[in-house]
């Protein structure tokens, strides 16, 4: 199949997955509506869908909904980082799920650094972000090394590691760094000059972190497609036997991919922490790592597509939030819609008949041209 045909197939497939998810969502909204008459239910559904799809952009009065839109952009920040982290690790065929724990640890370490380190303006946030990244990297090196050296499943290890990280943070938070003067479990406030500057005023929480995220997207894309290290990582993911036969040091690059994943996840946590919060108070895994996996899959493991996938997920999040505010639809619906999209993207055989027709067509064309050529 030609490159153009496979691109066409992927586009059709993505749109179809989204369309089906929305159709299912429509039915769910319709049946969960509390109104009685059919027409009323229909009106409710239309209203809910409008809230879901249009409200994040446009207010009810027809003007641009800048607040909602900035929220969408702001909530892209952490999932861009975890999406990138997952992209790099999945590219090497390493199903490391540790970006969830990585982002939590990155946030925690960056917070501690921003609270306690006596560093000047500009230096403090930079050092805090770097320390957060480093911490997450070191932690993800555990499943990475175990995989490379002893062939222990990185998936199981990283998954369990997430909970170890979570409980360890909770332990340190409760025992050592909690602000006792507060009613709930939270650290002391971070130093004012550690906070990342906001891009726009008005409490939108769209910080410089967004720019850092976009820069990370560009750097990771260049790394993956324009350097020998990224190339080797991708070759291992495409065919590990081939990589080994070609003389690529497979163990080293398996570790490298996960170390980079750790850095990105940790950086995401640090940026989110310093861009949005005054003090650290996460007590459970934040879920950004899981969303990052969805983002990586939507982006087809291509870092350049991560911002679009992150935007889509973030947009859906805001849409369902507005939907639950303005209509009677529960916002658990988001999870259902997400799950359906995820299902169709992850299902290798979705539309496989359509794909098979394209393949058969081009194979037959090739056979015909072969015969003609002889």
């Amino acid at each position: 199949m030609s490159k153009r045909n496979s691109l066409l197939f992927n586009v059709v497939r993505s749109l179809a997955a989204i369309a089906i998810a929305l159709i299912v969502a429509t039915f769910l909204v319709f049946f969960s509506s509390t109104s009685t008459g059919f027409l009323e239910k229909l009106a409710d559904t239309a209203e809910a869908l409008e809230a879901l799809l249009v409200r994040p952009f446009i207010k009810a009065n027809g003007t641009f909904n800048s607040k909602a839109f900035l929220d969408v952009l702001a909530s892209m920040i952490p999932i861009m980082f975890t999406g990138l982290a997952t992209t790099v690790m999945f590219s090497a065929n390493q199903f490391n799920l540790g970006s969830e724990g990585g982002i939590m640890l990155g946030a925690f370490i960056a917070a501690l650094s921003a609270i306690y380190l006596p560093l000047p303006t500009i230096i403090l946030p930079i050092v805090s972000i770097l320390l957060g990244s480093l911490a997450a990297m070191l932690v993800l090196l555990i499943p990475a090394t175990l995989k490379a050296k002893l062939n222990i499943s990185e998936m199981v290890n990283s998954l369990m590691l997430n909970y170890i990280i979570m409980y360890l943070i909770n332990f340190v938070l409760t025992s050592y760094v909690a602000d006792r003067s507060k009613g709930q479990l939270v650290t002391h406030q971070i130093q004012k000059h550690a906070a990342l500057p906001q891009l726009v005023g008005g409490g939108s929480k769209l910080s410089v972190g967004f720019i850092i995220g976009l820069i990370a997207v560009i750097l990771v894309t260049i790394f993956m497609y324009r350097t020998r290290w990224g190339y080797n990582i991708r070759m291992i993911g495409k065919n590990q036997e081939f990589a080994r036969y070609s003389g690529i040091n497979v163990a080293f690059y398996i570790i490298l991919a996960q170390a980079i994943g750790g850095i990105l996840a940790g950086m995401g946590g640090a940026v989110e922490m310093l861009g949005r919060y005054n003090a650290y108070d996460w007590k459970a895994l934040p879920g950004y790592g899981w969303t990052g996996i969805t983002v990586a899959i939507l982006a087809n493991n291509n870092p350049a597509f991560v911002p679009f996938a992150a935007f889509f997920m973030s947009f859906l999040g805001k849409g369902t939030e507005l939907m639950s505010t303005y209509s009677n639809v529960p916002n658990q619906l988001l999870n259902i819609i997400q799950a359906i999209i995820f299902l169709f993207f992850a299902a290798n055989n979705f539309l496989s008949r359509y794909r098979q027709r394209l393949v058969v067509k081009s194979a037959e064309e090739e056979m015909a041209s072969e015969l003609g050529g002889k």
Partner: protein, 519 residues
Amino acid sequence: MSEQLAIEMIDVTKIYPNGVVANRDVNFRVKKGEIHALMGENGAGKSTLMKILFGMEKPTHGEIYVNGDLVDLSSPHDAISKGVGMVHQHFMLVPSLTVAENIVLGMVPRKKGVFIDFKEAIKITQDYSRKYNLPVDPFAKVADIPVGMKQKVEILKALVRGAEILILDEPTAVLTTQETRELFIELKNLKEKGFTIIFISHKLNEIMEITDRMTILKDGKSVGIYETKDSTPESISRAMVGRDVVLGIEKEKSNPTDTILKVRNLNYVNAWNKQMLKNVSFSLRKGEILGVAGVEGNGQKELVDALFNFIEVDSGEIEFKGESILNLSQGQLRSRNISLVPEDRMLFGIAANASVKENIISDRSHYPKYNKGPLFNMSEINKDVNQLVDDFLINCSSLEQNVGMLSGGNIQKVVVAREFSSNPELIIADQPTRGIDVGATEFIRSKLIELSRSGAGVLLISADLNEVMELSDSLIIMSGGEIVAYFEDTKGLEDDEMGRFMLGIDRQEDSKIQEVCYE
């Protein structure tokens, strides 16, 4: 129709989702009560055709008749219900269960409809075992029984399920000589009882011994049906590999200089406890092509794996330019200018989902000229890859096209473009032209000669007699993991003579074989 057909497959074509055309309009007819061989090189489409017959793959188009009825086989279950059974090359047994439990798996006899009737299971096993003369121990755990018995269990499993047509996928690949002999007696016995057997193999001697007729596949197409009694190993191998193609490659006389590769006393026992390499020793000089001929599965694969460190040999020494290269990583081997054209190009030779460009630079992405600081020097890479695509006549729509979308011949050209362009001093070419078109074959062969004449040492492993005879300056023949013959010059060698060595009928004097070991 005078004779009744057990199986008739008409115009079966299979195109896999990755675009590989595995079968093209194949016609396959098996008479009732015969042992019918399905032959062909690796990748000729044998397995795909049998998977279709056993309901594991759906054909893209084509019709299948079993005992004269048109059938639609969409799962192995369908195939079994039509009386088709298959014994896979890799056994499908549960190691922790007993033989009897494995045999009744999925059709367990019940006591009062609930409890498993173990006694009945053992009785069934013993009955069938006796009836078909396939002795097995019903109480033994499958994990504890030898390979030969596992195969009997597989055959019994098919028989218990009412199979009248048995497909055996390379049944002798894992068996010792004695076990093979035993299997053949059992198969003849089954044939007398009226069973139809389809026997997949590429071992000529086995085919000659046991089958009545054979269908030969080549490049996914059926070459024809032959009566075994009217065939000779030569005529079969000709049909299989297309030996009639006249190559007429002109090669100047070799002028070998220093010894570049010294292999001494390699021994290797594989996971099934079969000795695959027995004291293999030879030397290879710069400027010559040393051919390794032999029927597949006689240690050639293991020899290559040992040379490129894919397996750890039990004993022996490998020296390259006077230095031991045993257990060096593939990267270290490549930095010493050793190249390998691997036998299995789809698994080792390429990454199908990566582009032509990415596949060509896989061994050289670290070259200083391809890197500017941390970044790739794309213009330099593109320039060199473009040059290689031109030089090696690779037919691709662009450098970005995925290699998996190319034809077999072009895929192999991508592999050799990489392996031949890294200034190799030693080239190991393992079945370099298997299953590819004539044009690409000729091209690759002339490149191999060109490289050897400009000073590289070439070790050519090929099951294709034509190829080893035409290309090699000198030749060794492997049989049963040993080198059984050495010919300094391939001129004037007769096929028959070689065939006798390859099949293990003849063996040269040790002193003659040792002549291939020089300093």
